[in-house]
Each structure stands twice: as C-alpha cells, then as structure tokens.
C-alpha cells in the first residue's frame, strides 16, 4: 500500500515537471517577446513586411509560409499514409505488409537534413525543369519533402489503430458476406477514426516544427508567396536564419513572437483534436 503511494507521488512529480516545463517555455518566450508586444509592434507583426533595414519586423509571410507548407504536405501525405496503412494492416498483413512496415519504421529515424540534401540535388532541379518557373526552391518542393517526412509517422499510428479493431467485428463482416473494402469503410474506419486524428495531429505538428527541410529547399524569401511555386519562408526557418542577429536588436526579439505563434498553433491543433475526441466521448486517445 505504501509502495503504491510512493510510486504515485513519483509519477505526480514527473507529470507536474513536464507541465511546468511546457508552461515555463511559454512564459519565457512571452517575457522575452514583451518588448515587441508592448512597444506597439504587435499589430505590425501581422501587417508589415519583413524589412529590418527599414525597421519593419512583420512576420505575416512566415506565418503564411508555415501554414501553406504544412497544410500542403498533409494534403500529399494523408492519402498516401491512409493507403499504405490499409495495405499493411487490412489488405495484406502478411509478409509483404511486414516488410513495408519495417521500411516505414526505418524511415521515421532518417534525419531531416538527409531529406533536405536529397531534395536540393534531386527534387529542386526536377521541379525547376518541370514547371519552368522560378528556381525550383519553392513551397511545393518543401511540402513534397515534408510529406515524405511525416508519412511514416502517420502510417504507423494509422495501422496500429486499424489493428486494434476486434477480430470478432471483422469476422462478423465476413459472415455477412462483406469484402475487405466494405469491412474497412463500415467497420474499421468508424472504429479507428480517433487514431486517424491522433496521427494527423502528430503529423501536422511535425510538419510545422521541422526546420531543416524548409530552410534548405523552400528558398526562404521574405515576400508573401503568391503561388505554391513561389519561394517561401517558414517560422522555424526564419528563426534559424535570424538567430545570428544581435541579442539586443528588435530583429532578434521578434523571434520570440515567432516562437509564441508556433506554440499557439500547436496548442490550437492539439486542443481541437482533443475537443473532437471528447465530444465523441469514448476510448483512450493514444
């Protein structure tokens, strides 16, 4: 009995620690970003362009870049992941599925800088020659590479949640004369949609948080992108580029606003996903 209490206390301390760390990071960013906010620059952040020579530190292009690139990568990666996990978990859980799954697991461990390198030498010239527009360093290029980056994460979570569907349900579909596709649409998908949302949330978080890929292949220009073939800059890439600036400059301090925006985006996505989950009100959110 006493042992249980001790374990509970230890677990409480670790849980509280991680909560404090998360809150601490936010407060830290808020405190350091305060000069930008109180200096009357908050509105400028979203309305003015980024032109430090003229004293303008707007980050609307970076917000747009981050959103465009991560949403576009999700658009590419979601159908791919869904198809791949259906193959692994539903249609062919045998040897072929096993090989595919191992490959996907291996892919989750590849550092993003490797994708970036491959992208610069293979994808960038390809996109440039294909569309005959711009440098090939574009939002589209970064989104393609990010799609490759986030697909394995989604595949693993999707296929796990498909696998958790009780066998008896699937047997029932078979007994009713249903084929695997019908089983997927009418039984597996309704049963595991929470897993799908969890995978999406993780994937969009990863896409938005990644720095290397967009820094290497998106071109990092500061203008508002007019098309997906235009070059763009993400919030994370922006932080990576500007971090060499002087600590005391307003330029550097505006980075904390970028950090806060990233933080708020992630928090919004996670809470929305949680909200969806609680409205449905069942199951564990793993």
């Amino acid at each position: 009995m006493r042992k249980e209490i001790l374990v509970e206390k230890i677990l409480f301390v670790t849980a509280a620690g991680s909560v404090f760390a998360t809150a601490g990071v936010f407060l830290f960013m808020f405190y350091l970003g305060l000069p930008v906010i109180t200096g009357g620059h908050l509105g400028d952040l979203f309305t003015s362009p980024w032109a430090p020579e003229q004293g303008l530190y707007g980050i609307r292009s970076m917000v747009a870049g981050s959103l465009l690139i991560s949403i576009l990568s999700l658009v590419f990666a979601f159908p791919l992941s869904l198809g791949c996990s259906i193959f692994i978990a539903v249609l062919n859980p045998g040897k072929m599925g096993w090989i595919l799954k191992r490959t996907v697991q291996f892919m989750t461990g590849i550092p993003t800088v490797v994708y970036g390198f491959v992208g610069i030498f293979l994808l960038v010239p390809l996109i440039r020659n294909l569309f005959e527009y711009g440098s090939g360093m574009s939002i589209l290029t970064a989104a393609f590479l990010l799609a490759i980056l986030i697909t394995p994460t989604m595949v693993l979570i999707f296929s796990e949640s498909f696998r958790r569907v009780p066998v008896s349900y699937l047997d029932a579909v078979k007994a009713l004369g249903g084929n695997p596709v019908q089983a997927f649409i009418h039984v597996i998908l309704p049963y595991s949609w929470q897993g799908i949302i969890a995978g999406l949330v993780l994937a969009v978080g990863r896409a938005m948080g990644d720095t290397m890929i967009s820094l290497m292949v998106a071109g990092n220009s500061v203008g508002l992108p007019r098309s997906i073939l235009d070059s763009g800059r993400t919030l994370t890439g922006h932080i990576g580029l500007i971090i060499a600036a002087d600590f005391d400059s307003l330029e550097f301090k505006s980075l904390f606003a970028c950090g806060m925006i990233l933080y708020v985006f992630t928090a919004l996505i996670v809470t929305t996903a949680r909200g969806l989950h609680y409205r449905k009100g069942a199951g564990s959110f793993k």
Binding site: V113, S135, L215, G219, S221, S231, I243, A244
Partner: protein, 281 residues
Amino acid sequence: MKLNTTIFGISLFLLLVSGLSAQPAAVSTSSLEPFSGEKGTVRISGGTAHIPVMREAASRIMKFNRDIRITIAGGGSGAGIRQVGEGLVDIGNSGRMATEAEISKYDLRIFELAVDGVAVVVNPRNPVKALSSPELRGIYSGKISNWKELGGNDKQITVYTRDNSSGTRAVFWDKALNRSMITDRAHFAVSNGAMKAAVSQDPNGIGYISAGHIDRSVSPVALDGILPGLENIKSGTYPVSRILYANTRSNSRALALKFVDYLLTGEGQDLFAEKGFIPVR
C-alpha cells in the same frame, strides 16, 4: 546558430574528406614552432568567407601538434562577434568591422587578416558575364526580372542573398548596391558555401560570394567592366572589397592568440594568398 553550425559541420566534413587527397607536400615547421608543447582546444566561429583558410591553418597546426584541437564553425559575421564576446568561442571571425557598440560591450581585440573582394556570381551556363552597376541594382531590386533583358536566355532571374548578420551582405549592399532595396522575392542562403552551391545548381541564379570562394562551379561577373580578380581587388579598381577580421576578447587564452599570430606570419599570409585573398602584410 545551432542550425548553421550543423550545416557547417556537414560541409566542413565533406570538404575535409575531399581535401585529404590533395595535401601540400611539405610544410615548413618554423612558423608552427610556437605551438610545440601546447595543449588544448581553440574554438572558432563566425564569418564564412574565412573558412577555407581557417581549415587549412587548423589542419597544419593539428598535424604539427596532435594535442591541439581546433574546431571551426560558420554562423556569419554577426554570430562570430557575438559568440566571441560571450565567451562561447575563442576566435570570432567577421567580414566586417565590429561596430562601436560591439567593441565596447564585449571588450574585443581586433586583428586584420586579409583583404577580400565580394564577387557577383552566376551559373557557368549563363551567357551574361558582365553587368553595369545600374543593371545589378535593377536585378536586386526586382525591376529586371528576366535574363533576356540583359542579353541572356529568356529565363526568370533567381536572386540569392544572405541574412542581415552576414558581413558579405553588408559589404555587397553598401558598395555594390549603394544601399538600394533588395527584392522580397530574393532567396536566402545561410553561408558563402551555401550561396555558391545554390548558384552552381541554379542556371538562372545570381548571387554574391567572397572572392576567395570562387571556383569553376560558378562564374564571376565583371562589374562595370571590371572582373573581381586578385589584381583588381588589390589595386582597388574593383570596388566591392572589405577586410577580413579575427576578433578575440582582451582576456582570450594564449593558444587562441597564437592561432591568430600564425595567420599573420608569412606562412599564414601565404595561405590567404593561396585561397584567393590579398594578404595584409
């Protein structure tokens, strides 16, 4: 900072590997004598124009005395000055003079190492090999957006630039662009090496790099009829040049100062000349 360091770590590694096969035959050891019996680490970061020379000097010193370790990272001039000021590194390189504020805040000691030109470069396949100053400003402001307007191919121009903490950018902006606007369509590269790689990959690209970084992968452009060759930079005929600096703190360790001293010996200065810079001594 960490990012740039990562990129530099990787490019440095690649360059080191590629450089292994082409070592100079025999290096005289006399200039290296001060390093005998020394031990410890010298951390260097900052300006990316300096890197080829720093790397060669470091490899000679480390070969002479295996107890010395020298690490070289990029980050840009701004980062170099800041990091040395805050004690994160022993030597912070910069391609521009530290500002009054930086000198007083960090108590810096400043050494002039060499003179370096900042060259406008295009892809070797680009037929345009000469530009006038107004044309260059037109390209960088975005007013001239197609190579056709300059007698080249009917292709959209990709403008490459560097971030504000780059000393190379500061000099280029001041002396070549006359502080005129740079288009918000410009792509950003994180270092001299990254800029060179980008322009060598992009047939329609234009960028600017340290003259010491020019090789066959990019073509230098004559500015108002003057090529950024060593002679022209030395005589001042080619106007876009600057001094490369090494910055240390006034209380820097002796080993770091010995490294800077080595760069200022005849052998060290020859290294700068070999890599395409103009020695100051």
